[in-house]
């Protein structure tokens, strides 16, 4: 581990020689956590609550894979299985994947990376965590009150009329959580627009900021649609109005249009912030700027915009007109282009770099392999002629797990390991970190690769009992899941240990660029002792030896209350 010292003037919140309180040690009361307005503490609240929900969702998955080791439904009955996959999907999608990177890493890093003291609306930020918790509580209540058996997609009229489970409670939970997502998105957009440090121009923004910004746009524009859709399902269940029920003159396919109008862009709410993490990791561990910075930034925006016009590819088999299918097919292929650009750009970031394979980088490289396959198999589903056969089979299950787990979870793990020393001030055990990355990579591929084959063979998804010729591949998949589970459990252990007993990490253990590495680890409450000013592009490697830096080159005295004076100072520094 190379620890590159950073000029103490820049990092220490208090004059040299005295240790000042970080955001973690400023207070230890429960109240100080539950009423905190500090974006860093809120990020920790999210991290803890989402880890708990991830464990819940993972437990459901484990039971499903156990059930599927034999063709007969002998571990759980049909009803239990249907509830398991529904709760696995609902928990993972709405309460883990969608908020994971933005709400934890994003919350922690967005202000730090742009040199701000906090998000634009700290109270709204805290409110969004409470909404998340209330939404999760409703949905968990639905699970404990008997569960939901509709699948996370809640297709009507099954969900709105036929299902005898706790659909209304669950959709209300999702409705509430939607507000949390909208508020986080709003907060990010305003923060990125208004709170950037002097000199932090749009094209000096780290790519993590770009991708979170693009995802925030989707959150704000898309989430209200799913919220309304969920309310309509609840209304139809409770009052029997005929919105989706054909027996009352409703249209069941209307639900699918509304649902996917959000839920397809939601895929990009999940992966765009993950893309941002990968950009940061590739740059930091290659000691090079991300290849084609501007193209990668614009690709994020292009993906965000295109994501809104491809929802119809989920409806190829509903009897949609051939022309509509062709239009959605061609648009879906278009999303592939900016995604392909990103993958190539990340890969070539390593070219002529100084590559070190520490834990976060292992996760990032695993991401590249898995996400490439996930993206390419998406093309199979975009091709309308082939999707007819593959739709609603295990091929789809495999594809979206490659994108969601391979893309989001690996990036999240990589980001968590990368910024862990910044978040906690401590270092974890590198050996176990690498072990976890390797276990997750191999466990993941063993779990989900056989499912591509199962899908083409024709095994439909959401089957708790299946034809016997599918058993071999299902056993492989279940075996992989057990390896994957152990890969997930390891970090739980060594990261917790590191938080208590890990060695001190130093302020910039990776020798990385970026304003977040210019403050101490863990950061002080106000993030920076003085307002940083930015005089260079991001990822401007090779790293300047921090000892050569003149503190006054990068700092202005932001303690003054006089705005005009402040502006003048900034002007002077920048000129």
């Amino acid at each position: 581990m190379t620890t590159i010292p950073v000029n103490p003037e820049l990092t220490s919140p208090l004059p040299l020689g005295r240790k000042g309180p970080s955001y973690l040690d400023i207070s230890f009361t429960v109240k100080s956590w539950l009423l905190t307005l500090d974006h860093k503490r809120i990020a920790i609240l999210y991290l803890l609550s989402m880890t708990a929900l991830f464990i819940v969702g993972g437990a459901f998955a484990t039971m499903m894979r156990l059930e599927l080791t034999t063709p007969q439904g002998d571990f759980v009955k049909a009803e239990a299985y249907n509830k398991l996959f529904t709760m696995h999907g609902v928990t993972m999608v709405f309460f883990f994947l969608i908020p994971s990177v933005p709400a934890t890493l994003g919350n922690f890093l967005v202000p730090l990376m742009i040199g701000a003291r906090d998000l634009a609306f700290p109270r709204i930020n805290l409110a969004s965590w409470y909404l998340f918790i209330i939404g999760a509580a409703f949905t968990l209540a639905a699970m404990f009150a008997g569960g939901v058996d509709t699948g996370w997609t809640f297709y009507t009229p099954y969900s709105s009329v036929y299902s005898n489970s706790q659909v209304a409670l669950a959709v209300v939970g999702i409705f509430i959580t939607g507000f949390s997502s909208v508020l986080t998105g709003l907060n990010f957009i305003v923060t990125v627009h208004k709170m950037r440090a002097p000199g932090m121009t749009w094209f000096r923004l780290p790519l993590f900021i770009w991708s979170n910004y693009a995802a925030a746009l989707i959150m704000v524009l898309g989430t209200p649609v799913i919220s309304i859709t969920m309310v309509l399902v609840a209304v139809e269940r409770l009052f029997g109005v005929g919105i989706f029920d054909p027996a009352n003159g409703g249209d069941p396919v209307l639900f699918q249009h509304m649902f996917w109008f959000y839920s397809h862009p939601a895929v990009y709410i999940m992966v765009l912030p993950a893309f941002g993490v990968i950009s940061e990791l590739m740059a930091a561990f290659s000691r090079k700027p991300v290849f084609g910075y501007k193209v990668v930034a614009f690709a994020s925006l292009a993906i965000a915009l295109l994501s809104f016009v491809v929802w119809g590819h989920h409806l190829f088999t509903t009897g949609q007109s051939v022309y509509a299918a062709l239009v959605f097919s061609v648009l879906s292929f278009l999303v592939g282009i900016p995604t392909a650009i990103k993958v190539f750009n990340w890969t070539f970031t390593m070219y002529k770099g100084s590559v070190s394979l520490e834990t976060p980088m292992l996760f990032a490289l695993g991401f590249l392999g898995i996400f490439t396959l996930g993206g390419l198999t998406g093309l199979f589903l975009a091709a309308v002629g082939l999707d007819i056969h593959l739709h609603d089979t295990y091929f789809v299950v495999a594809h979206f797990h490659y994108v969601m787990v391979g893309g989001v979870v690996l990036a999240f793990m990589g980001g968590l390991h990368y910024w862990w020393p910044k978040i906690t001030g401590r270092m974890y055990n590198e050996f176990w970190g690498k072990m976890s990355a390797i276990l997750i990579f191999f466990g993941f591929n063993l779990t989900f690769f056989p499912q591509f084959i199962l899908g083409y063979l024709g095994m439909p998804r959401r089957y708790y009992a299946y034809a016997s010729e599918f058993q071999v591949l299902n056993i492989l998949s279940s075996a992989g899941a057990s390896i994957l589970a152990s890969g997930y459990l390891l970090p739980g252990i060594y990261l917790a240990y590191s938080f208590v007993k890990g060695p001190k990490a130093g302020d910039n253990p990776w020798g990385a660029k970026g304003l977040e590495w210019q403050t101490s680890s863990p950061p002080p409450v106000e993030n920076f002792k003085k307002m940083p000013i930015v005089t260079e592009d991001c990822y401007n490697y090779p790293l300047v030896d921090p000892h050569d830096l003149q503190p006054e080159d990068r700092l202005i005295d932001s303690t003054t209350k006089d705005d005009d004076k402040l502006k003048e100072q900034v002007k002077d520094k920048l000129s």
């Binding site: 049909a78 036929y162 290659s286 392909a340 002629g385 056969h389 609603d392 024709g458 016997s468 010729e469």
Partner: protein, 348 residues
């Protein structure tokens, strides 16, 4: 049904070959790019690994390279799109001579009725080498009719007809799955597709158990039983030559004229929701709605009958209502009873 382990699904329809060829092309492209990226990642990670004495990182930008990896994927996407589009356009219209079979999906079985009235449950018997067109309805939730060996699938959405066609190319028995999650016994809603040689099929079809009547006859009986002929031969629009013709109707606001083709979905709507589209020149108050009185199966039978009524047909009451027709009408299942049923049914 072949129970042995295999990595490739059986090919048993004309379409399967085309889908498989496209799939192989996609696999090749996927394998190429996955290996390319994986290879580059490993190569770069080794070649440029951080170590003592290694050259310092160099800035590297190359616009040409970026153009290559923008344009090449774009071109490949165009090829994929066109190929996929060709497949779907080719399979979108069933041939004129296709054998029509009616399918009703319900929680949790496939109910099949052949035009001569022969019924099957969770089985579909078809002749080899002849295009088959399925006209499908759902009685409750969305189901999806999926025959992997034929590489075809179609959702069956309640409230509308959906169609699927294929041409079986190999005699044998194949899986029939429900692919759209439809509730408790979704995984149990499976059946068999039996493809028979033409002669065997004819023999099988003719061995209809006693008491089954053709769909048209059943439809004609319903037509008579519900007194449809009373209006539709005199003051109402005639059924003669109706099917497939263009109709001018009022819809929504009474002065809005609209042209529709009298197809399955139009007839279904007009029977069940008679006020939805009133034929121009007729009063909307005349026809009662048959929603709740007729099952989806009855609607199919009525339409099958209407189809057979040619332009010169005589419509009337010559068909006396059979006494047992009433017995054929099952009561529309209530939500409560459906769910208690489902609990009793224990899977395997």
């Amino acid at each position: 049904m072949d129970k042995s382990f295999s990595l490739w699904p059986t090919q048993a329809s004309k379409q399967a070959l085309h889908v498989d060829l496209f799939y192989i092309f996609m696999l090749a492209v996927t394998a190429f790019f996955t290996l390319l990226i994986a290879g580059l990642v490993v190569f770069f990670a080794v070649k440029y690994r951080r170590r003592e004495g290694a050259p310092p990182p160099e800035k590297f930008e190359n616009v040409k390279l970026e153009l290559v990896w923008t344009i090449v994927p774009l071109l490949i996407s165009v090829v994929m799109f066109v190929w996929g589009a060709k497949l779907v356009v080719a399979s979108s219209k069933p041939p004129e001579n296709a054998l029509e079979i009616h399918v009703i999906g319900k929680q949790w079985m496939w109910h099949v009725q052949h035009s001569n009235g022969r019924r099957e449950i969770n089985e579909l018997t078809v002749p080899v080498g002849r295009p088959v067109k399925l006209t499908m309805q759902s009685q409750d939730v969305i189901h999806s009719f999926f025959i992997p060996a034929f590489r075809c699938k179609q959702d069956v959405v309640p409230g509308r007809f959906s169609y699927l066609w294929f041409e079986p190319s190999e005699p044998g028995e194949y899986h029939l799955f429900c692919a759209e999650y439809c509730g408790l016994q979704h995984s149990g809603m499976i059946g068999k597709v039996k493809v028979l040689p033409q002669a065997d099929y004819e023999r099988w079809l003719s061995m209809s158990p006693a008491g089954e009547e053709s769909m048209q006859v059943a439809g004609a009986k319903l037509f008579s039983q519900y007194g449809c002929a009373t209006c539709h031969s005199q003051q109402g629009p005639s059924m003669a030559g109706l099917y497939g013709s263009e109709r001018v109707v009022w819809s929504g606001t009474p002065d809005k004229e609209q042209k529709v083709i009298a197809d399955d979905n139009y007839l279904r709507e007009s029977i069940l929701y008679s006020k939805a589209k009133i034929v121009k020149g007729y009063s909307p108050a005349l026809m009662p709605t048959f929603q709740g009185l007729l099952t989806e199966e009855n609607v199919s039978q009525l339409i099958a009958y209407i189809k057979t009524v040619g332009k010169d047909a005589k419509l009337g009451n010559e068909m006396t209502p059979g006494g047992r027709m009433q017995d054929l009408l099952p009561p529309r299942p209530e939500m409560k009873s459906r769910n208690s049923d489902s609990e009793k049914r224990d899977y395997k």
